[in-house]
Each structure stands twice: as C-alpha cells, then as structure tokens.
Assembly symmetry: C2
Homo-oligomer: 182 residues x 2
Amino acid sequence: MGRPKNFNRMQVLEKALPLFWKRGYADTGLKDIEKATGVNKSGLYSEFKDKQDLYLAALRHYVTTRRRDTLSLEPQGWDNIEAYLKMRAASKDGNKGCFAVNSMREADLLPDEAQAIINENRNALKALLRRNIEAERTRLPAETITEMLSTFLSGLSIEINMKVGKSPPRKVEDLMRVLRAL
Amino acid sequence: MGRPKNFNRMQVLEKALPLFWKRGYADTGLKDIEKATGVNKSGLYSEFKDKQDLYLAALRHYVTTRRRDTLSLEPQGWDNIEAYLKMRAASKDGNKGCFAVNSMREADLLPDEAQAIINENRNALKALLRRNIEAERTRLPAETITEMLSTFLSGLSIEINMKVGKSPPRKVEDLMRVLRAL
DNA sequence: AACATATCGAACTATTCGGTTCATAATGGT
DNA sequence: ACCATTATGAACCGAATAGTTCGATATGTT
C-alpha cells in the first residue's frame, strides 16, 4: 500500500518548535526548519500550508503538550506554585522562558488565531493558579492575586532571555515572599 | 560653507524608533526605515554604520529620553508608583509597552551592548521604584518588593501586545492592591 | 512483478534583503 | 563665481527569501 512516511506531524513540530522559540517567527527561515527537522521543503509543504501554518501548529502543539502537573498536586497551595515557578525559572533545555509569551511580541504580525491560542492557554494556566491560591488563607481576593501572578510570570518568561540581572530563581524567591505575605 | 543637512540624528531616531518598537529588529527592513524617516538609504548609511548600529542608537535614544518624572515626585510612595504604572499601561501613542522589554525577546541575536543598555536602564528604573517603596511602611524588604514589581512591569509591557485579556489598567489596579497590602 | 505511496533533491520564480558606490543636483558661505 | 558640503536616487551586488513543481528514487503492500 505504498511507501510509509517516516516522519509524522508531531515529530516535525517537536523539532521546529525550538527554532521558533529561540529566534521568533520573522527570523526563522525555512532553511533552518529543513535542517532542524530533517524533512525536505517538499515534505513540509505536503504537511503544512505554509510557514505561518507551521508556526501556528507549533504553537498549538506547545500549549497542548506543556505539563503543569505540579499545579494539580494535592494539597493545593503556595508550595505548588513555588515548585511550578522554579521549574519555569530553570530553563531545563536550551529553550528559555515561555514560547507563548515570546509569541506575544510578534502578536500583530501573526494571525488572530495565534492570539486566541495564547489566550486560551493563559486562561487555563490562570485557572490552575487560582485554585492553588484559593486553597490558602489570603487577605486579598484570589482573583487579584492570580492576575498579578500571571503578569509576573509573563515578565519572568521574557526576562529570562537576558544574560545579566538577578537570576530567575532569586526572583521567584522574592515573589514567593510576597505571595505568602498576602 | 556647504549645504546644510536637513535631518539630524535625533530626528531620524525618533522616527525609526516606532518601527523597531512595533515590529522588532528582524522584521523591520531598511525600506521601512527609509519611508518612515524620509531619509535616503545613502543618508542613513552616512549617519549609521549599519542596521544594527541604527537599532542600537534607537535603543540608546529610547532609554535616555523616557521620562519618569512621576517617580521622582514628592512625597514618594505608592501613589507615584500607581501613577507611573497607569501611564505605562495606557499606550499613549501607537507604541505599546516598553521598547526595552520588547528587545529582550531578540536579545540573543543582538550585540551584547544591547543587553547592557537594557540592563542599565532597568537598574535605573528599579532605583527609582525602590525609593518610592522605601518611603512606605512595608513588612517586606524594599528590595524584595522592587524585584517583584520590576518583573511585573516586564510582564505588563509584553502582555500589552495582546488584544484580549484583562485590560492593562485593570491589571495595574490589581497590582496596587497587592502592593498596598505588603 | 505490479502498484501505490513517500522521500528527496533539484530547479525555478519572483522578491527582498542589507549593504555599497557613484554621479548629479541642491544649497549654502566666502 | 567659486567652493564645500549635503541630498538624492539609481544602479548594482551577492545572498537569501518564501513558495512551488517535478522527476527520480526508495519502500512498502498485494
């Protein structure tokens, strides 16, 4: 029944993702994607409509595969949040920060669908954070704290791109002191 | 004594800045800069070494011209910070967020000098913020709060690029409630 | 063996890119 | 009038861009 394909969509996305992650949409060329994925341009075009389609697919793949297990652990509370933040602050692989946050920078040269994906993802994260916050005794409304924390996280993700400045883990420690004081 | 030049460096930077601000380094072409500044490519290259040099000059110009008067008003305190944040949250002109924060995204494809500029600027801002925080009675160290606030600001700047989500002014209000509770 | 599918590289188009050079015109002061 | 300085636009370069097509080849199933 014909020759079987030896790459699947997910493998390609998995390898193309770090490129877009590190260099953004505008500065990532098809040549780079070819090299990184090992798939010929012809093959890429057989799977994706064009570069934008590929980027969107990578973004979609990113938001659907990121694990946030730590935020679902019981008991809910600050410790979960701290663990999650520290995990985020330590760029495990070469990828720094959050791909979705990085994408915000290029939001207005990307299709609206990109913004929709980013927001959906952000809201899901906020919901998880909020549950953990609500489990704690706080003087301020969980909504307020969640909103602050979410924006802080965006800041953390973007600042990770810098070489200097206070280290992300230290920033997280500072933030946790703030949170526990609320 | 020869024909006088009818553009000066600062005017050019003033007009090129919004381009880099909105679309970033990689996605801004010399063609765009020509059109925006009204200065011929030849003229640009007589004033700047290359595109990167122009970008650096724009970044330098940005950080040296941004006014932060509100943070220096007496008496120092939360009100100053709130006024400053609200000013930042309301993108007065077409420019959204902070150019320096946007630049972080492209940090590793820019010369190290760019990072140096951004950091210097960031430290200056932190110092101003900190003075206002120290003027208040807080339970947490001013250093801790400053660090948190600074990262929050980065987040705010990057999230402004999004169309949806909670409006920046609302986010600022949430943050101020947090700050005043510290 | 016959057939169906997939892979790959190459070729191709048309455009744009950053960057350089130069000749010409414009505009001032002396 | 002469000269110095600047502005301008066009030509040009080599390289790279996104995107498309096609044919040769490989690899499976039946």
